[in-house]
Symmetry: C2
Subunit: 293 residues, 2 copies
């Protein structure tokens, strides 16, 4: 007997090469592998078609951008259909001359474009100069409906914002999904690196618990960049269940990990600890302020 | 040399008796012990003056309520002054006939009443019938200024709400503080009990990380109640640093734990990972909706 509430999902983490052709071939291999493993959804890393070009500001890097739909999204859609898997991809989207987005693209398992999410929170710190490249998203925090459910797709820096996770949950998202590109600066000592990785997982575990939703997060692996702008992507992609429990976790090497999610579990938990019933929405208005001074 | 940014704090967890006199004597002992240990702030458990009377609905229980300021708050204020410690207490406040609050009371180290916080999120589930007893707070999410800093004092069920933590952080809170009363139902198996405890700590670790603030949380210990309404309070009071790192944690027995907080650390972290700079306040308006349907 098949329990129809059980959804097997997969997360791929890998090092990205400097050309789209190599990276698309890698993505296709992981998509096929996910399908063969029985997964019905697979998540790829952030900006998997390119090197992490945001390590410095260079106008030539905009050449990496591509339209959506476009050649890459169509090729990923064909791979999704072939494997019978929903693919959450991440592309550098050229929307118009001068408007480029960091966009998560969801290809449904029938090969259709289910939807896109344009990264809302854009970081900018040494070696992650994303504000130069990415226009902030204007599609809001809107889940994407697919054959495996309503997906709360967000991107990387969004993962530090409880507001983003909550808005997706309030719109009926059944999963929170974060393609990511985050790594260590070797100038930090081991203890600081450990705290950063724990914080990255910890804040997302918090979103799982607060919203009673599974959280699925990918990352890149490997080292990119030269002196003063080198990033050692830390991998450690994971799947958390709706109580924040770890269901799958990768190490620092390339990997495909899978997990089984019971999508009925969220409602069970929301009956036992009914957080959504009690939100003091009458007192939340100042969440739209920068600071309450 | 003394580093003035280092603040030693203490958390007391203990079993509460059925009368205020015994419980106040216990509180006074822990306050004195905290002062002797060099702490400048001590947190007591939720509703430490009484048994956890919310296990059932009984009009007679309102006799436990008391005005603030009142005899108990004055006695705790004297203990705070004697020990030279800021005390975060938790009382069943009688505001008027028919209006009773679950109120955190902050006694400054000079013995003055620094302020109060009336629990905003009121739970109600089997054995925690708080909606019967507690009128929802109407003071909002407003930090309380003391001689050791600006305290983001919240109470128990509030700890599941990222919105509450964020609103305190946006109002300049330097610490998040949660007196709590939470425990296991022995009808749940060991794995479920472990997930609940981990979820309780995990969601609050998320608040620490998302806001780059220390989180200080107390709990009760011991078993209260009879058949069908028994609670085994799980203790495990803790102090997390502003990256979510565990600085102190108690077990399931009565204990006073201490930790040293570096209050400069929050700003250092906010410069490295500047979450507050990037909040998409233009897209957060629907956080004031029940559900986005």
């Amino acid at each position: 007997m098949t329990d129809t509430s059980i959804l097997t999902i997969a997360v791929a983490q890998y090092a990205c090469a400097d050309n789209a052709e190599t990276n698309l071939a890698t993505a296709e291999r992981y998509i096929a592998e996910a399908g063969a493993a029985g997964a019905r959804l697979v998540l790829l890393p952030e900006l998997h078609n390119t090197p992490y070009f945001c390590r410095r500001e260079d106008p030539a890097m905009f050449d990496y951008a591509e339209p959506v739909p476009g050649p890459s999204s169509r090729r990923l859609a064909a791979a999704a259909k072939n494997a019978g898997v929903v693919v959450v991809a991440s592309l550098f989207e050229r929307r118009a001359a001068g408007i480029y987005h960091n966009t998560a693209v969801v290809l449904d398992s029938d090969g259709s474009l289910a939807g896109r999410y344009r990264k809302m929170h854009i970081p900018d710190d040494p070696a992650y100069y994303e504000k130069y490249y990415f226009t902030p998203g204007d599609l809001g925090f809107t889940p994407i409906d697919t054959q495996v459910g309503r997906l709360g797709v967000l991107v990387c820096w969004d993962q530090w914002y409880p507001e983003a996770a909550r808005l997706m949950a309030l719109a009926g998202a059944e999963l929170l999904i974060y393609p990511s590109a985050i790594g260590w600066d070797d100038a930090d000592d081991d203890a600081e690196q450990a705290r950063q990785l724990a914080a990255w997982q910890g804040v997302q575990r918090g979103h799982a618990i607060a919203n009673h939703l599974p959280v699925v997060t990918s990352n890149r692996v490997g080292v990119e960049g030269g002196p003063n702008a080198e990033i050692r992507f830390w991998g450690h992609s994971f799947v958390f269940g709706p109580q924040g429990e770890t269901l799958a976790e990768a190490g620092t090497d390339g990997a495909l990990v899978t997990a089984e999610l019971d999508l009925h579990r969220s409602e069970t938990l929301r009956r036992i600890w009914p957080f959504f019933r009690d939100r003091r929405i009458d007192a939340f208005g100042e969440l739209t302020r920068r600071f309450r001074d």
